[in-house]
Symmetry: C2
């Protein structure tokens, strides 16, 4: 994995036609939890990594200064500096795809918390006795609103003998049921699929309303594959926010789609590198 | 009301033996929502006030500079500057009494949000289909964990024919049932009272865990009358945080009782006035 990172850095550098001595810093977005000050990935279950000093390893191999930051934090920073959140003093970024992640821009700066753990929006509890989350708790936002959760609910429905339109949409194969399949069935008018989508969206709206009441942001940016399902998701998010967020904060908070898509993270890394380079002048 | 405020300012000034011309600023803690920049209380349902320009009115009457801030925010600032939160860069303050309020210290400063609405911890949703809150939403933290909520649950129990030990503790009068009465019955070993207390505490713990996952603070300060019920509340708060907060953030966050009691708000006002006076030097 690290070999591939090093190779791709070299490749990009050659394509751009720049020598390594004029590159001041390489910013790398990584999954948390991590220690940004020491540049160590503390735990990355999907990679099977624990306490990997990626900053030091990369710096040795590429002879350039390296900084690490959380990938969702960098996506938030990307939207703040280059995307829909430009000029927003207080902005909450939420990405809803396989999981639910996020990042916070507070007082015009990326807010990392006391041990680089802030912004874990996917692990707000929205249904205390709800489905088990990968983190071990029950009813986290991620466990009820992610693409994974939408697909799981549809498969459970099929196992109980329902969801036949969803199953047909997946070519009759339960293992082929994804959030996109459920969304397609819902778009075709299937009420069971519609219910699964609207419930996931309602829980997302509940989470967003809680964040608005707690942080009173000027903008909430929602991105990720699940948001691309479109109006069936957005409508229910807005309804819950309308019902649950206090007037003062609700009327101040624009709720908008992310503008940078998959490029948010890498553009956030560019923003972080730029900030560091300019700081050193 | 304003006449009484003016009279008490004059009285305190005389007791302290200082003339008004050496007082640089008077900081006033008020219930939100408010506009701190203009010094206007936008809405105070308990006082029946709407859009009261308290800053301007007081300044005219006392001929001193006046600043307003949210009372729960000032209590948070008080604990941060003079209380248990001294030196904490990121601190969450929660007060659980008749209602549930709070304030956020982020990056060493009071965080007010984009329209002075931040810190409304009482209106995080912890039980989506739960009891109706005074704000109009269902299952807000305030609707399930406040002293008012604890008393309401006990009265409902009595109405359903249960809660006889609680009723006896209230001298046989259902209207006399308060959170303190329920706590006393629980302390006497009544399991029904114990269940009400532990459920309120569990929801509080769920809210605190969500805040820890979102903000990764170094400290969470819990105050107010309900926390003074003691270990029956604290135990269940800790259990839910243990079960729901992510390791990185959970192990970083001290959860401690407030240190200043009812003086937190006024000491926060002192801190705010001091900060403003020093800034002007």
């Amino acid at each position: 994995m690290i070999g591939k990172i090093v190779a791709s850095i070299g490749q990009v550098r050659k394509q751009a036609g720049v020598s390594s001595d004029i590159i001041e810093v390489v910013a790398v977005g990584v999954p948390g939890p991590l220690d940004t000050a020491r540049g160590v990935i503390r735990f990355a279950p999907n990679l099977g990594w624990r306490d990997v000093p990626l900053k030091r390893i990369l710096e040795e191999q590429i002879s350039m200064k390296v900084i690490l930051d959380n990938d969702a934090n960098l996506a938030a920073l990307g939207e703040h500096i280059f995307g829909v959140g430009r000029g927003q003093e207080n902005m909450v970024y939420v990405t809803v795809s396989t999981g639910v992640g996020g990042g916070l821009i507070l007082g015009g700066r990326l807010y990392r918390g006391s041990s680089d753990g802030a912004g874990e929006i996917g692990h707000i509890t929205v249904q205390p006795e709800g489905p088990l989350c990968t983190c071990g708790a029950r009813g986290c936002l991620e466990a009820v609103s992610s693409g994974t959760a939408i697909a799981r609910e549809a498969r459970c429905l099929v196992e109980r003998g329902g969801g036949q339109n969803i199953l047909a949409q997946a070519g009759g194969n339960p293992a082929g049921i994804s959030a996109a399949v459920v969304a397609a069935a819902a778009a075709g008018g299937d009420p069971e699929a519609g219910s699964i989508i609207s419930l996931a969206a309602r829980f997302l709206g509940i989470g967003v309303a809680s964040i608005i009441n707690l942080l009173n942001p000027g903008m909430v940016v929602l991105g990720g594959g699940v948001m691309e399902i479109g109006e069936p998701i957005w409508r229910h998010v807005r309804l819950e926010v309308e019902a649950r967020a206090l007037e003062t904060s609700r009327t101040r908070a624009q709720i908008v789609p992310a503008g940078l898509g998959r490029r948010a993270g890498v553009l956030g890394a560019v923003a972080l590198a730029l900030a560091l380079a300019l700081q050193q002048k």
